[in-house]
């Protein structure tokens, strides 16, 4: 299957076609949605989008890693990672069940 990559521009185009705002405003709104979700995650919240999935931030503790090339041990500092959990609705649709 030929697969392509969807970007902000495609999302803005869909908003433009569905909602009937200007192209400019459509792309600004797509940006605002992404920015709002990012801000909520950065300020420590989780983001739950029903029938799509949820984003949550997990704190990882410090651990000892190893440079695979040199074998030298290096501490990996504690950090935050973002975890996405797809909803059942999304999983089912991707598997052609809904």
């Amino acid at each position: 299957m030929d697969s392509r990559t969807i970007t902000r521009a495609d999302l803005a185009e869909a908003v433009y076609e569905e909602v009937g705002l200007s192209r400019n405003e459509s792309s600004e709104l797509v940006e605002t949605v992404i920015e709002e979700i990012s801000d909520a995650l950065i300020t420590g919240g989780n983001v739950k989008i029903s029938s799509f999935g949820s984003f949550s931030v997990k704190e990882k503790g410090e651990r000892i890693g190893r440079n695979p090339k040199t074998g030298v041990e290096v501490p990996i500092s504690p950090r935050k990672v973002l975890v996405f959990r797809a909803s059942h609705v999304l999983k089912d649709r991707i598997n052609g069940k809904a």
């Binding site: 299957m1 697969s3 392509r4 990559t5 969807i6 970007t7 902000r8 495609d10 999302l11 869909a14 908003v15 569905e18 909602v19 705002l21 459509s26 709104l29 797509v30 605002t32 949605v33 992404i34 709002e36 979700i37 990012s38 909520a40 995650l41 950065i42 919240g45 989780n46 983001v47 739950k48 989008i49 029903s50 029938s51 799509f52 999935g53 984003f55 931030v57 950090r79 935050k80 990672v81 973002l82 996405f84 797809a86 999304l90 999983k91 649709r93 991707i94 598997n95 052609g96």
Partner: protein
């Protein structure tokens, strides 16, 4: 934050728009991302992250409780990889 809270925030920032249009904007965005993944396409939102679909082959699994073997069908799984910009901002480096 839930989808309805997201809609509320957008409404506050865009008092010139109808609430039903804002709802439609949010629905359209997630519907487009979903439809892309259904087609097997990748969705790349620079600075935020990328959605893609991973394939899992059919396999013979085992019920860990009973030890019984079960057939697990091939399936496709949605996958998200956090973008560099967001990962750095989460860790206060952005």
């Amino acid at each position: 934050m839930t989808k309805s809270e997201l809609i509320q925030r957008l409404a506050e920032q865009n008092p010139h728009l109808y609430l039903r249009d804002i709802e439609k904007i949010v629905e359209t965005i997630f519907e487009e991302i979903t439809a892309a993944m259904v087609r097997g396409d990748r969705v790349e939102l620079r600075g935020f992250g990328a959605f893609s679909v991973k394939h899992r082959e059919a396999r013979t699994g085992r019920n860990p409780r009973t030890g019984e073997t079960v057939h697990v069908e091939a399936k496709r799984l949605p996958f998200f990889k956090t973008g560099k910009g967001l990962r750095e901002r989460l860790n206060g480096e952005g």
